[in-house]
């Protein structure tokens, strides 16, 4: 947990990461809000806020009396949303940094191709 963003947003993001990685499979149950709170050492109300963000987005849903579950299609939904933001979150800063260092777009494209081949 860092100070740069709201804690509840970080909780939501961590859960999303776990869904994408498969650690929290679709239609599987997720830990309770209290368990999240204990794990992250945060106030349960904050953990609840983070979980509710995902519930509102339809990524998690509640089964009454049992708990919270990952919705079907959650992975696709999260990945899709992140793909939309990829450009502004990663590409734009990359271009800005490259410009600062005097790297033009051709050189940049070559760098990307090289790294892709090696990875």
């Amino acid at each position: 947990m860092d100070d740069s963003r709201p804690i509840f947003a970080q909780v939501a993001e961590n859960i999303e990461n776990d869904i994408i990685s498969g650690a929290l499979p679709e239609e599987g149950q997720v830990p309770s809000t209290n368990e999240f709170a204990a794990f992250y050492r945060i106030n349960p109300a904050t953990a609840l806020k983070g979980v509710n963000v995902l519930v509102d987005e339809g990524i998690l849903y509640k089964k009454r009396g049992i708990g919270m579950f990952v919705a079907t299609g959650a992975q696709e939904q999260i990945t899709g949303a992140r793909r939309d933001k990829f450009s502004s979150e990663y590409v734009r800063p990359l271009l800005a940094e490259a410009e600062k260092l005097g790297i033009n777009s051709t050189q940049l494209t070559q760098m990307i191709a090289k790294e892709a081949k090696n990875s």
Binding site: M1, D2, D3, S4, R5, P6, I7, F8, T33, N34, A37, A38, Y40, R41, I42, N43, P44, A45, T46, K49, S88, R92, P93, A96, K100
Partner: protein, 296 residues
């Protein structure tokens, strides 16, 4: 939502000293509140007023809808743990844990047992012979195991080392999650408890200067760092909470920035630094940083 505590225009004077100055606020039930401020700001006095241990000079207090002074019905449901708690002559921790249940209807002996083991408290050693940390842990255990609907912790963990303090925070969170109750935690070690709090009350020199939801407060500020000109351009007409600088470098704290503003800042080559709750409160109370550093 019910108000567990309601305070209106509360003032407490000790001779010429105004310890609590026209304070008004309310505490909603079953939340963890942080009562933050410098040493001597008035936190202890405020809590003593709330629990009827001190008498107000002016103003009103109501706990669970009634005035707390000499009110057994109300006081039975409160637990006030303070750091300077003195115990009767020859008492051993064992005696404290035998007598506490008589006064707290919700006392959980199994929980107390677990905490005694967690804090490694020797039950039979006379309290006079205990270390400061062990002494503090007695209060902490009573505060947690009492499960009182309204529990005040007045820096009772000052004597505890860092490990013990984190045991306290963990047990508090866990038990609060399973047995919700209203908790008011006073401290000047803000960063340590920052994530536990749901609502923040900051007292400075007897006055209530901040009364806000913790999450909102946390995101109130960001520090923008970079070359002076670039920073000034970016900051523009925004309200500045704090300004610092060295050479051509400038560091300015402004009110929270949204996602696109953050991207703009980064694009302008500026660095964004988070502002912790502790730093924010220091800046808002214009206090010396030393006061808030970990003393343990």
């Amino acid at each position: 939502m019910t108000s567990t505590i309601e305070v209106h225009n509360l003032t407490k004077r000790f001779g010429k000293l105004i310890a609590v100055n026209d304070v008004s606020f309310s505490v909603t039930e079953n939340k963890i509140y942080g009562l933050l401020g410098r040493n001597g700001a008035g936190k202890t006095t405020l809590m003593q007023l709330l629990t009827g241990q001190e008498f107000a000079t002016k103003g009103t207090i109501s706990l669970f809808g009634q005035a707390p002074v000499e009110n057994a019905k109300v006081l039975q449901n409160t637990c006030f743990i303070k750091e300077s708690q003195r115990y009767p002559e020859n008492f051993r921790p064992k005696d404290v844990f035998t007598t506490a249940p008589w006064f707290f209807a919700n006392w959980d002996p199994k929980f107390a047992e677990r905490l005694i083991a967690d804090f490694r408290l020797p039950l039979n050693r006379p309290i006079k012979k205990l270390s400061r940390g062990q002494l503090s842990s007695i209060g902490v255990i009573v505060g947690l195991a009492s499960r009182a609907p309204l529990t005040f912790f007045d820096e009772p963990y000052l004597g505890l080392d860092a490990v013990a303090r984190h045991i306290f925070y963990d047990r508090l969170l866990e038990d609060y999650a399973n047995h919700p109750r209203t908790v008011v935690l006073s401290t000047h070690l803000i960063d340590e408890v920052s994530n536990l709090l749901e609502h923040v009350l900051v007292i400075d020199d007897g006055k209530l200067i901040i009364n806000e939801d913790a999450e909102t407060l946390r995101n109130r500020a960001t520090t923008v760092v970079g070359m002076k000109t670039a920073v000034d351009t970016f900051v523009g007409a925004r309200k500045v909470l704090h300004r610092d600088g060295i050479g051509g470098l400038s560091s300015v704290t402004v009110a929270g920035l949204n996602e696109s503003e953050r991207r703009d800042a980064k694009a302008a080559g500026l660095e964004l630094s988070p502002v912790s709750l502790q730093q924010l409160i220091i800046q808002l109370t214009s206090t010396d940083t030393k006061e808030f550093e970990v003393s343990a």
